[in-house]
């Protein structure tokens, strides 16, 4: 099993993601610089990590979405490779048009950093199969612009098609319909604000994130 973590200038959870994937799945993890135009061969999983890519210039994720490597990431995702954007990675996926919606400044204006309880809204995705019907998991959020926004028609479509994967039980940032994570229509691109990479061993307060990486790689 093989995974890649994309490193943008300003990413700060890239190492966390590498360690989280290695320890929870045993997969080998390559770090891929944003300026590269090719991805390693035979990838089963691509992760866009959290952080502040390009210093959040213009809009969170806007510059990273135009990085050279994103053409290769889009092509791989179109071939069906499992792709996960976490926190800033979720913002990048939205800016790149790989997921619908956008992330706004948090409703309360504050940066929110704390463990949050999440409902596993759809446990039948390739990213959540290992939760085996568990309805509630805990992961940590750390964001200032995690307030998910989409127009009503898009929100209805996301809910109707089972594309809402995680929902906050106590909405920390004003996200529309308490949405914490969504997948694309094909089911192989996941974006989420909470960090599975900060919840992969019980010493970190929760090991629930490990199941997400295990699901993603088991489905490859």
């Amino acid at each position: 099993m093989k995974a890649a973590v994309i490193v943008f200038p300003g990413s700060n959870c890239d190492r966390d993601c590498k360690v989280a994937i290695e320890r929870s799945t045993g997969a080998t993890v390559d770090m891929v610089w944003h300026g590269d135009t090719d991805l390693p061969d035979g990838l089963d999983l691509i992760v866009l990590p959290g952080g502040f890519s390009y210093g959040d210039y213009l809009r969170c994720g806007a510059m990273a979405a135009l990085s050279p490597v994103m053409q290769a990431v889009k092509a791989a995702a179109e071939r069906g490779v499992a792709t996960v954007g976490i926190c800033n990675g979720f913002q990048v996926l939205c800016e790149a048009g790989m997921l619908p919606g956008a992330l706004l400044r948090n409703e309360g204006l504050k940066y929110v950093c704390k463990p949050v309880a999440l409902e596993v809204t759809n446990a039948q995705t390739r990213f959540t199969a290992a939760y085996q019907g568990r309805r509630e998991v805990t992961m940590t959020v750390g964001n200032g612009e995690g307030n998910f926004f989409a127009d009503e028609a898009t929100l209805d479509r996301l809910e109707g098609q089972g594309q809402v994967v995680f929902r906050y039980l106590d909405n920390p940032n004003g996200s529309a319909r308490a949405i914490a994570g969504i997948i694309n229509e094909a089911g192989n691109v996941l974006g989420m604000m909470p960090h599975p990479d900060r919840a992969f061993e019980t010493d970190l307060g929760s090991a629930d994130g490990a199941l997400l990486f295990q699901s993603a790689l088991a489905s490859a």
């Binding site: 213009l58 809009r59 706004l104 400044r105 409703e107 309360g108 204006l109 307030n147």
Partner: protein, 79 residues
């Protein structure tokens, strides 16, 4: 030619920065201030003198990068 692009959150999209600025202005005594919005202005120079063609180009820049049209609207001025 000088291009000026104004980018604002669309009406109906919660502008928490605008709200905070509005509250601060109320605190300073300007109680009548309403609907404060915080946006962004981007300026740059363009070659040539065909304003209509430049406007088409700059709108394309807005759609591709300068604005996220899911949440933002923009206005272009060419001078």
């Amino acid at each position: 030619m000088k291009a000026t692009v104004h980018v604002f959150l669309k009406p109906g999209v919660l502008d928490v920065q605008g709200k905070a600025v509005e509250n601060a202005l109320h605190g300073l005594g300007w109680a009548g201030v309403k609907d404060a919005r915080v946006g962004r202005v981007i300026t740059f120079d363009l070659p040539g003198d065909d304003k209509a063609a430049a406007e088409v180009e700059v709108k394309a820049m807005c759609d591709k990068l300068l604005a996220n049209t899911v949440i933002e609207s923009y206005r272009v001025e060419i001078a």
